[in-house]
Symmetry: C2
Subunit: 162 residues, 2 copies
């Protein structure tokens, strides 16, 4: 009986969390694609970072953040890595991260999602709170990218299409 209760109360499975994450990453990829080359690196509103800089942050978090959860070895948080000066290169790094995340996720089988974990040696929480932070932070910045696109007269991809 207790087992049934647990199953019913499993809000989402690890597999569903990965699918959700990669669905969001796929949408963000399409937001990157929607930017004109120049605007991706230079356009900003209200003194905020251009979208390319936000994407650098997302790339600095996602795969390195998952890697340290899986390996237990602290990673350096570096949101200033050089991904070149073309959207094409950013998209290439994005796709490489996508594959690496899928590969690393197979090792999550052995990880307790509720275990206490400090991301990048500085952000305390649990494995699950770290992963949700990665996803939610991406949604947050991507929403900002939507405003940039609208301000540029470009219709962004539909939010609910992953």
């Amino acid at each position: 009986m207790k087992k049934t209760v647990e199953y019913r109360h499993q809000v989402l499975s690890p597999k569903q969390l990965l699918e959700s994450w990669q669905g969001h990453r796929n949408l963000t990829r399409r937001v990157i694609e929607a930017f004109p080359e120049h605007a991706f690196f230079e356009f900003s509103i209200g003194g905020m970072r251009p979208f390319a800089e936000m994407v650098k942050e997302l790339l600095a978090i996602a795969e390195p953040g998952l890697r340290e959860i899986v390996t237990g070895k602290t990673e350096v948080f570096d949101e200033h890595r050089d991904f070149g000066s073309t959207k094409a290169r950013f998209l290439q790094f994005w796709d490489e991260a996508t594959e690496k995340i899928n590969g690393l996720w197979e090792k999550m089988e052995a990880v307790d999602f509720q275990k206490e974990f400090t991301s990048f040696g500085q952000f305390p929480g649990t494995v699950q709170s770290a992963l949700f932070y990665f996803i939610e932070n991406e949604i947050h910045h991507r929403g900002q990218g939507y405003v940039y696109l609208r301000s540029l007269g470009i219709a962004p991809p539909l939010f609910y299409e992953r």
Copy 2:
């Protein structure tokens, strides 16, 4: 042994999901508070809705959306409800929704998060995918509110403070 495995793979508990949701709603509340009265209802960028209109959408989703999950009775999605023309009234409705959500959540004990469920009679998915949509849609629009605030020269609340 199987039970332990299940527990370890419980990505997050229903209680943690509620805490996450209300944490996000608390941050959105502070974003509403950060807007100057006039700008909340009128300021926009790139032909997008003023933040007040986005908040109407969020209020139309959160408590009614959870209510129909709990009761099984389809709700009407109405993002044009009249919440008056002051931030104070919006915040009052926000706080009322917060309390109602906490009350409704007690009944989630009886709900299967993986059950197929169509929100507002038109958005198919499961209970969990509906709930995550509610939260992620809020993060998305709140991120847009951050750009509005920055464009108005106002520092938004810190994203990671809930």
